[in-house]
Each structure stands twice: as structure tokens, then as C-alpha cells.
């Protein structure tokens, strides 16, 4: 059963620096699933530690960009003694096709996972063709 598979640690991938950030520190690529349903394209990104006030989703020149900020003040007064992963902000961009209705994109964040729903434009929806 696919569900019973034992989970493995996924190494975090750093964002390729173009354009470069003006602040020091590393940013990570959120692990992402993209899938299509009848009416929409769904983009699901894992950004543990990001709450809904510190995530920014924007569309500019047909590029969808997701930025997630981690709250570092929570680490104040903590001294690391044993570490297995690093923490950082998240950033990832995707090129959108014209088949997406860019004005109706919606987002939902739960348990550190953000789900973006990108509705298909009317003309891109599948339609049945009647045989006359």
C-alpha cells in the first residue's frame, strides 16, 4: 500500500540566486506538488513555520511568486546543541500559462502547507463536442 511507505527525510534545496537577495542568509525552495483538476490547477507548497500573515503570493508578468517568512524571534535565547536541518525563508516562482484566470487565484494555509487554487480560464476548460 502506497500509504504505508516509511517517510524519508528530504534534503532542503536552496533557491538559485537570481536575482540575488539584498539580505544575508539562505532561502529554501518549498517542496511542491502541482496537479490539475477539471476546473483548476492546484499548487501545494510545504513551508513549515510560516503562518498566514507572513506569506506573500503575487502574480507579475505571468510569473506566480510565493514568498514565506519564518519567524526567527521564536529562536531567541535558544542555543543549538544538536541539529539536523537548517531553517530559512522560502521562495519559489512558476511561469503561468495564459490558460489561468489570474484574477481569481486563491490561497489557503494549513499545518505549514499552502494550497493555491489557480482557476482555469473559461476558454481552457474541457468541453464536450456534440456530434451533429
Amino acid at each position: 500500500m502506497a500509504n504505508e511507505q516509511e517517510l524519508q527525510v528530504q534534503q532542503k534545496r536552496e533557491v538559485d540566486k537570481k536575482p540575488e537577495s539584498t539580505t544575508p542568509g539562505r532561502r529554501y525552495l518549498p517542496v511542491t506538488d502541482i496537479f490539475e483538476t477539471q476546473d483548476a490547477l492546484k499548487v501545494v507548497l510545504e513551508m513549515p513555520g510560516v503562518d498566514k500573515n507572513s506569506v506573500e503570493v503575487r502574480v507579475e508578468n505571468d510569473v506566480l511568486t510565493i514568498d514565506g517568512q519564518v519567524d526567527f524571534s521564536k529562536y531567541q535565547g535558544l542555543g543549538p546543541v544538536y541539529t539536523e536541518y537548517n531553517v530559512g525563508n522560502y521562495a519559489r516562482s512558476f511561469q503561468l500559462s495564459s490558460k489561468i484566470d489570474q484574477d481569481r487565484i486563491s490561497a489557503d494555509l494549513q499545518d505549514g502547507v499552502i494550497t493555491l487554487v489557480l482557476p482555469k480560464a473559461e476558454k481552457a476548460k474541457p468541453r464536450k463536442i456534440k456530434v451533429g
Partner: protein, 141 residues
């Protein structure tokens, strides 16, 4: 001295450096080098006590089980991903499945006093050091 990560401009950078510096830490000892097991764990010292921070994005709180006994803590559960019916995949990077990890901390802890907080896909465990293990000042007569 515990590092301060409060300066917003420097915070990210200095925290990342501190985490990197501890990547080869042998604090857990040779017997519990379970590195590479899921979920990954960071452990911090906070005064006399400890905080374990574990990233578990997409795990529902109801699917997460915690057990503590003596100086071991067990974190187990299941991560479900539901794509819905009739979805066609374009990109699949997330993984689902079950996990079960037990860590033994090399200090005496108070298992009754452990507090857990799960928020935004991050589990924080506050692990108090056993009272009798806390350092005490000795008065000179």
C-alpha cells in the same frame, strides 16, 4: 552564553550559521545517531531546559502521537496527501507515509513535564531537565 537571534536583519544569518556549526554535534552521543530518520529534529538549550523543534508540514494534529518515558521521546504518525479524484499530476515532490522515530536525550529529563505545541507544521517540544540534575550553587561556609 546563548546566542540571540533577535536582530531582524542579522537573525536569519546568525541562526543559520549557528545551526550549521552544530551539524556535526555529538551531543546525542553515538548511540542515538539516527540522522537521516524522518522527521528531522533540532535540539536547543534554553536555560536549564531543552527545546526540540521538529518540522512536520502537512501532518494533521490528530495523526500525530507523542510518548515520553524516562529519557526517550517517541514521535510517530502519518502524513496523508489527498489529491482528490480525477487529478492529473504535473509535479510531485511531496511524500506521504508513516513515520516513527524515538530519540534518547543524553540528559535526565522530567517526562511528566514535557509540553508539546504543534503550529504551522512545526512541532515544538519543551523538555524540562530533571530537577535533581539541575546545577545548584554550593555555599562556602
Amino acid at each position: 552564553m546563548t546566542p540571540s537571534f533577535s536582530d531582524p536583519f542579522e537573525a536569519l544569518f546568525s541562526l543559520q550559521r549557528a545551526l550549521d556549526a552544530n551539524l556535526a554535534s555529538d551531543w546525542m552521543g553515538a548511540r542515538t545517531t539516527a540522522m537521516g530518520s524522518y522527521p528531522p529534529i533540532n535540539i536547543f538549550q534554553k536555560g536549564d531546559d531543552f527545546v526540540a523543534v521538529i518540522e512536520l508540514p502537512g501532518v494533521d494534529k490528530a495523526d500525530l502521537q507523542l510518548e515520553a518515558k524516562e529519557n526517550t521521546i517517541r514521535v510517530s504518525g502519518r502524513k496523508n496527501i489527498n489529491y482528490g479524484d480525477g487529478a492529473s499530476m504535473h509535479r510531485r515532490e511531496r511524500v506521504s507515509g508513516v513515520f516513527d522515530r524515538t530519540i534518547s536525550v543524553p540528559i535526565e529529563i522530567d517526562p511528566e513535564g514535557i509540553q508539546a505545541d504543534y503550529r504551522d507544521g512545526v512541532l515544538a517540544l519543551f523538555i524540562p531537565r530533571a530537577e535533581r540534575q539541575k546545577p545548584r550553587t554550593i555555599k562556602i561556609k
